[in-house]
């Protein structure tokens, strides 16, 4: 019991009390730090290892809890995201999704999360946005950014500060609903001039797989232009337009509605992907912490046994020196 207490105090007090060998008074005057450096074999003291084990254990618990929180949030939002897919399917059936359309003014809407610790999804969104930006800038083409979410804002501010038109953060303070998204869509449509809107987000396929996707929404003028040139949109002329005074008025309402529907779905899918990515990130983190804990336990036991052995050696050699 006393030995254990002495051991806890770093063993520097045990040395002079146990063996009266001439070498020991030397050891007793050395501080614990020099003790370790001088003695080499006994590497780290158990106190330090024990502290590390405590902090790693805490981290493991925290990341496990974060994983469960993310799992429950994912469950809540997943059904909504899957249901909202039906919102834009009729639009795509009618107007088609043409990411290769060539227009003068592109606006890239990047959707990201506000909080971190969610793996690499925000970086992939920003990478794709930058690639789109590069693809769509040339002599008579230009592209601007509209950023949703803190993480993408931080990354894009660094090198594309002048190209960012609008920044929106704290989207998930209240549960996501269509009204909020339609207000955002309204904001974007009013303040930003565009020919094509490209929305970059992470589509949720399953808890472990998220696909970075781009959804393209064209402005009414471009829709008319594409309709005349043929292709998918060429069939648009077969449809009779009812309501509104002119075709362009109805087309404008149509594209605005399309934008808000696609945005709603994109925001929901991105939120799902965020929670899923956070789940897997926290899972690998707690597994990593568990591995680290195992290794530290082994080190701790080895250190403990080594110190017991050296004490025994000291006692026994002291005793045998007395006898012989």
């Amino acid at each position: 019991m006393a030995m254990a207490a002495l051991r806890r105090e770093g063993r520097r007090f045990a040395a002079p009390l146990i063996s009266p060998q001439p070498i020991n008074p030397l050891r007793s005057s050395i501080s614990p730090a020099e003790d370790q450096a001088f003695l080499g074999v006994r590497s780290i003291s158990t106190q330090i290892v024990r502290n590390r084990m405590k902090s790693v254990r805490n981290i493991q618990k925290i990341t496990k809890a974060m994983k469960m929180v993310a799992a429950s949030k994912l469950r809540a939002i997943q059904t909504r995201a899957e249901n909202s897919r039906g919102l834009w399917q009729p639009f795509t059936a009618l107007l088609g999704d043409t990411p290769s359309v060539d227009v003068k003014k592109n606006v890239i809407v990047t959707i990201s999360s506000d909080k971190g610790l969610c793996g690499g999804i925000n970086s992939t969104s920003v990478k794709i946005s930058r690639a789109l930006h590069k693809l769509n800038s040339g002599p008579d083409k230009e592209s601007k950014y509209v950023v949703l979410g803190e993480k993408a804002k931080a990354q894009l501010l660094r090198d594309s500060k002048k190209d960012i038109e609008l920044c929106l953060t704290e989207l998930q303070k209240n549960p996501l609903n269509y009204t909020q998204v339609s207000v955002i869509a309204d904001d974007v449509l009013k303040n930003v001039e565009y020919d094509a809107l490209r929305i970059v987000f992470n589509k949720f396929q399953s808890v472990v797989s998220f696909l970075p996707t781009t959804a393209t929404v064209l402005s009414p003028e471009v829709v008319e232009r594409e309709a005349e040139s043929g292709g998918k949109l060429g069939e648009l002329d077969n449809y009779e337009i009812e309501g509104g005074e002119t075709k362009s008025e109805v087309l404008q309402n149509l594209t605005e509605f399309q934008f808000s529907c696609v945005m709603f779905n994109a925001v929901l899918e991105n939120a799902c992907s965020e929670q899923g990515a956070r789940m897997s990130a926290m899972d690998s983190s707690s597994r990593n912490a568990g591995d680290m804990l195992d290794r530290l336990t082994l080190t701790y036991n080895r250190t403990r046994q080594a110190s017991i052995t050296t004490e025994l050696i000291e006692i026994i050699s002291g005793a045998s020196a007395l006898e012989g």
């Binding site: 909504r80 249901n83 059936a93 077969n238 009779e240 337009i241 009812e242 309501g243 109805v250 509605f257």
Partner: protein
């Protein structure tokens, strides 16, 4: 918030901006804007009514109609008493509205409530 309903029916009546429009199989392809009103789905002798806030109806040439609405409420869930109350409140606001924006907002609300009222009674 969003439920996707997809089934085969005999006829659908949608509240287009040009009036109530009935859609039967074989209707010509059309895109119509909807105003707030009652959407009724007829399947045999079964009639289901929903109140839709606004949206679009696409009718494709293969007899598939897509109806997209921002909000759709089954008519049973609409409370007549509160509709009446809001109607009187907003007609009053409309007459006392000063700016154009306020007038437009109040007008929209009154239109929706008139449609709701007629949906409930008719």
């Amino acid at each position: 918030m969003f439920t996707i309903l997809s089934f085969k029916v005999d006829m659908v009546i949608v509240p287009a901006t040009t009036g109530q429009m009935g859609i039967l199989p074989g209707h010509t392809a059309s895109i119509s804007e909807l105003k707030p009103g009652v959407l009724s789905i007829h399947d045999g002798n079964d009639v289901k009514k929903y109140f839709v806030s606004s949206g679009f109806a696409f009718i494709h040439s293969n007899s598939v109609a897509d109806i997209m609405a921002a909000e759709a409420v089954p008519i049973e869930q609409v409370d007549p008493a509160s509709v009446q109350k809001q109607f009187t409140e907003f007609t009053q606001k409309l007459s006392s509205a000063s700016t154009d924006l306020e007038k437009a907002e109040a007008q929209i609300r009154v239109d929706v409530l008139v449609a709701l009222n007629s949906a409930l009674s008719g």
